[in-house]
């Protein structure tokens, strides 16, 4: 098992544990993005957990802010704060807010939670990098329901206009949002064509294939003059069979019994944690 594979697995375990402890939160869209965050925080991004405000760091903006658990798990596993803190998620007075808060959580680069706004701020960060001739990059994760927001496309147009090739968006293309399947709630297809038409480089991958994800990020480094988007085909709830592809697991925490069964599956019978 590679380090990144191991990290993705740990992140998924953290997600289940923290949601079970919080008794609320969003498992589906957190689990679908675990492999993407593992690649970002353990391979791709230039960050320093000791120095979360390092001006030259790469930035990550969780535009789909409800997936905070996957971000907090990745940050904790990467060393930004102790993993024990994860169990205090959503508790009164604790720093781990239901949606990412940049003023409270070390490593969170932008406060999000209102869909559509994250990519806009991420593009602004990328523009600041261009102004200052810095070589940091900005990554942002979008939901496929989220891209119904007009603001996403305003940001997309402007990012291409300003040739923000230091901006990389990742679309968590899991096919589901709260009220059901994207195609039933608000059809956004054809997604890749839309981004291409807006002037972006488009790379399509299996969002649970670490090789493909790493190659895609590698590719974006050499694509100049345009922002890039990695359209990552994912499974909502990935890794926990009873949550996979179920819209009902968007925003409900597992019961203690469900969490046990999920953890057994994620730990593969082995006693890791």
């Amino acid at each position: 098992m590679t380090i990144i594979e191991e990290m993705a697995r740990k992140i998924r375990i953290d997600i289940i544990q923290m949601l079970a402890a919080a008794k609320s939160g969003h498992p589906g869209g957190s689990l679908s993005a675990a492999d993407i965050l593992a690649v970002l925080y353990f391979k791709e991004m230039r960050v320093d957990p000791e120095n979360p405000h390092w001006p030259d760091r790469d930035r990550f903006v969780l535009s789909k802010g409800h997936a905070a658990p996957v971000l907090y798990a990745a940050l904790a596993e990467r060393g930004f704060f102790p993993t024990e803190e994860l169990l205090q998620l959503r508790k009164t007075g604790h720093f781990l807010q239901g949606h990412p808060d940049m003023k409270k959580v070390p490593g969170v680069d932008m406060s999000t939670g209102s869909l559509g706004q994250g990519i806009s701020a991420a593009a602004g960060m990328a523009l600041a990098g261009k102004i200052d001739h810095k070589d940091f990059r900005v990554f942002t994760l979008l939901g496929d329901g989220e891209i119904a927001e007009g603001l996403v496309w305003e940001a997309a147009m402007a990012a291409a206009h300003y040739k923000l090739d230091n901006l990389v968006a990742i679309l968590d293309y899991n096919g589901l949002q709260i009220d059901g399947r994207n195609e039933d709630v608000m059809n956004s297809a054809p997604v890749a064509d839309k981004w291409r038409a807006f002037g972006w480089n488009v790379i399509e991958v299996d969002g649970h294939d670490l090789e493909q994800l790493m190659n895609a990020f590698e590719l974006t480094k050499n694509l100049r003059g345009k922002p890039s988007i990695i359209i990552a085909k994912t499974i909502k709830g990935k890794g926990v069979s009873f949550m996979e592809n179920q819209a009902g697991w968007h925003g409900n925490a597992p019961s203690p019994e469900q969490a046990d069964s999920a953890l057994r599956e994620l730990k593969g019978g082995k006693d890791h944690e």
Binding site: A22, S24, G25, G65, R90, K91, T92, G93, H94, L96, Q97, G98, H99, D101, S111, T112, G113, S114, L115, G116, G145, E146, A148, E149, G150, Q177, I178, D179, V185, M186, S188
Partner: protein, 321 residues
């Protein structure tokens, strides 16, 4: 004195009553259409969608378009109810509401749920604490805040009958039922839930329940306060506000909203120009909320009957000095 917020007994969230009201009114008025932005299970418009699928439209996660479509539907004779969380309805789509609904005085009902800090665990990004202030500031806009399930039904019914823009603010949390079927809500009218001579508490939403508890507690200490439910925040019942200020000589407002621009401001605007009395505002003190259990947050942010009692004693002391 315990800090427990909620009584036992029958409790229903105003959003649940909203879903049921839509189904009932949808059967009576075929022009009613309902729109949502990917939150129909939470706002309870899903109840309507089940019964009248041909008159329900999911706009996806696109609140500005939710309001824009509603404006167009209203301009063409429909009675649209547009629902999402209060933060996104009045925040993301504010300027659509201003320029495409309020300005042309179109018959759109913006029916928002998950208002206030009692949203709980989702945290500050999802807790609308300023929605009344921004909606109240718009010309042509009517602003209604029901306090229980029965009143919600009446508010929705009256909003549907009224010609023009209405903002309706509802909550996520279950609250005790206060009114029975004989209750008659009218736009522009406040109602006295309990009479008193020493001070008046004007309240909305779940703070009406807290105000009643405060009144009971104070009564046992020999202080008799009136509790007035101001479900119609705009137009507000001017006569009632002035009359109660004259009757009791001291006023407290209580709202699950920032103290800037909401009920407290509305009452202060009327009294300062007509009949100034000592006044205190119970509400969120110009800060954002946070994640946590709703009842813990209500205590932490001072939205309890004990805060109302403190405020009443404060204005009484000033009145007597």
């Amino acid at each position: 004195m315990s800090e427990k917020i909620l009584n036992s007994g029958e409790k229903t969230a105003t959003r649940d009553a909203y879903g049921k009201a839509l189904v009932k009114l949808g059967g009576e008025n075929r022009d009613i259409v309902v729109l949502d932005a990917d939150l129909s299970k939470s706002t309870k418009t899903a109840d309507f969608a089940k019964v009248f699928p041909e008159r329900f439209f999911n706009m996806g996660i696109a609140e500005q378009n939710l309001i824009g479509f509603s404006a167009g539907l209203a301009a063409s004779g429909k009675v649209p109810f547009a629902s999402t969380f209060a933060v996104f309805a009045t925040g993301r789509a504010f300027e659509q509401i201003r320029n495409s609904v309020a300005y042309p005085k179109l018959n759109v009902k913006v029916a928002a749920t998950h208002a206030g800090i009692s949203v709980g665990e989702d945290g500050a990004s999802h807790q609308a604490i300023e929605d009344i202030a921004v909606m109240r500031s718009l010309p042509n806009m009517t602003v209604l805040v029901p306090a229980d399930a029965q009143e919600t039904y009446q508010v929705i019914k009256k909003a549907a009958e009224y010609q023009g823009p209405v903002y309706i603010r509802m909550g996520r949390l279950a609250v005790p039922v206060l009114f029975d079927e004989t209750y008659n809500f009218k736009i522009g009218q406040a109602n006295i839930v309990r009479d008193g001579k020493d001070a008046t508490v004007f309240a909305i939403g779940l703070m009406v329940h807290e105000a009643i508890k405060a009144a009971e507690e104070l009564s046992s200490q020999g202080i008799e306060i009136a509790v007035v439910n101001c479900a119609s925040i705009k137009p507000i019942d001017r006569e009632m506000v002035i009359r109660m200020a004259k009757q009791t000589g001291a006023v407290v407002t209580a709202e699950e909203h920032t103290i800037i621009g909401g009920l407290g401001s509305a009452v202060a605007e009327i009294l300062s120009e007509n009949y100034p009395v000592h006044m205190a505002r119970v509400g969120i003190k110009d800060v954002f909320g946070e994640s946590g259990k709703p009842d813990e947050l209500l205590v932490k942010y001072g939205l309890t009957y004990s805060e109302i009692i403190k405020a009443v004693k404060d204005v009484l002391a000033k009145k007597q000095s």
